[in-house]
C-alpha cells in the first residue's frame, strides 16, 4: 500500500487479557520497527525486523511482549496478560533504502 497501515486504531482491553496488534508495512520496505509512546514520554524502541535476519528484541520490556514477521510482510505484536502500564500508543514504522522511517498512525491501547 501507499503507507504503513496499523490495526486496530484503538483497543480497550481488560487487565490480564492478551492483545494482538497488526502492522502492514510499505511494500518493498525490508526493515520494520515497533515503538511505543506512553503518556508524556518519547518514542520507545521495542523490536526491529530486517528481512529474514534474527530480530533485534532488545527493547521489549518483558517476556509478555512478543512480535512476529514473516519475510517482508505483515508483523504482529502480541502482549500477553496485559497490565495497566502497557497502556500506550504502539507505533509501527518501515524503512526502505534511506534513513527515514515511515510510521503508521499507531494503535492506542488502553488497559482498564
Amino acid at each position: 500500500g501507499a503507507g504503513v497501515s496499523q490495526s486496530p486504531s484503538n483497543k480497550v482491553t481488560e487487565k490480564g487479557k492478551d492483545v494482538e496488534l497488526r502492522c502492514d508495512p510499505i511494500s518493498g520496505h525490508t526493515a520494520l520497527y515497533w515503538y511505543r509512546q506512553r503518556l508524556g514520554q518519547g518514542l520507545e524502541f521495542l523490536i526491529y525486523f530486517q528481512g529474514n535476519s534474527a530480530p533485534d528484541k532488545s527493547g521489549l520490556p518483558s517476556d509478555r511482549f512478543s512480535a512476529e514477521r514473516t519475510g517482508e510482510s505483515v508483523s504482529t505484536l502480541t502482549i500477553q496478560r496485559t497490565q495497566q502500564e502497557d497502556s500506550a500508543v504502539y507505533l509501527c514504522a518501515s524503512r526502505g533504502a534511506n534513513y527515514g522511517y515511515t510510521f503508521g498512525s499507531g494503535t492506542r491501547l488502553t488497559v482498564v
Binding site: 518519547g42 526491529y48 507505533l91 534513513y99 510510521f103
Partner: protein
C-alpha cells in the same frame, strides 16, 4: 537514561515569527539526527535530517543546526505558520549499528498563534 533530550515540552510562537526547537544528546556515537513532526492521531512524519559531519541543513522554511561540541541541535522554522502546530520529535541514530534504530526525545509541542 535519556540519551536524547528535549527539555521544552511546549513552545508558543506568533505566526510569521521564527520557531526554534532544541534538542540535546549525550551519546557521542550518534552519526545522524532527524526531526519528525506529529499531528494528533497520526504517526510521526519525517521532516529534515542532518549528518554528524555537517553543521547545517536547510530545506525551505526548515533549517537544522548541529553543534557537536555542545551535543546540541536545533530546528528553526521561519516563517512559522499555523499549520506547523504539532509535536516535534528529535531523533538520533547510533553509528555502526546493525539496526539503524533511532533514539527519540520526548517531543516539543509547538503552537503557532495566528
Amino acid at each position: 537514561d535519556q540519551q536524547v533530550k528535549q527539555n521544552s515540552p511546549s513552545l508558543s510562537v506568533q505566526e510569521g515569527r521564527i520557531s526554534i526547537l532544541n534538542c540535546d544528546y549525550t551519546n557521542s556515537m550518534f552519526d545522524y539526527f532527524l526531526w519528525y513532526k506529529k499531528y494528533p492521531a497520526e504517526g510521526p512524519t519525517f521532516l529534515i535530517s542532518i549528518s554528524s559531519i555537517k553543521d547545517k541543513n536547510e530545506d525551505g522554511r526548515f533549517t537544522v543546526f548541529l553543534n557537536k561540541s555542545a551535543k546540541h541541535l536545533s530546528l528553526h522554522i521561519v516563517p512559522s505558520q499555523p499549520g506547523d502546530s504539532a509535536v516535534y520529535f528529535c531523533a538520533a541514530r547510533v553509528a555502526g549499528g546493525a539496526t539503524n534504530k533511532l533514539i527519540f526525545g520526548t517531543g516539543t509541542l509547538l503552537a503557532v498563534q495566528p
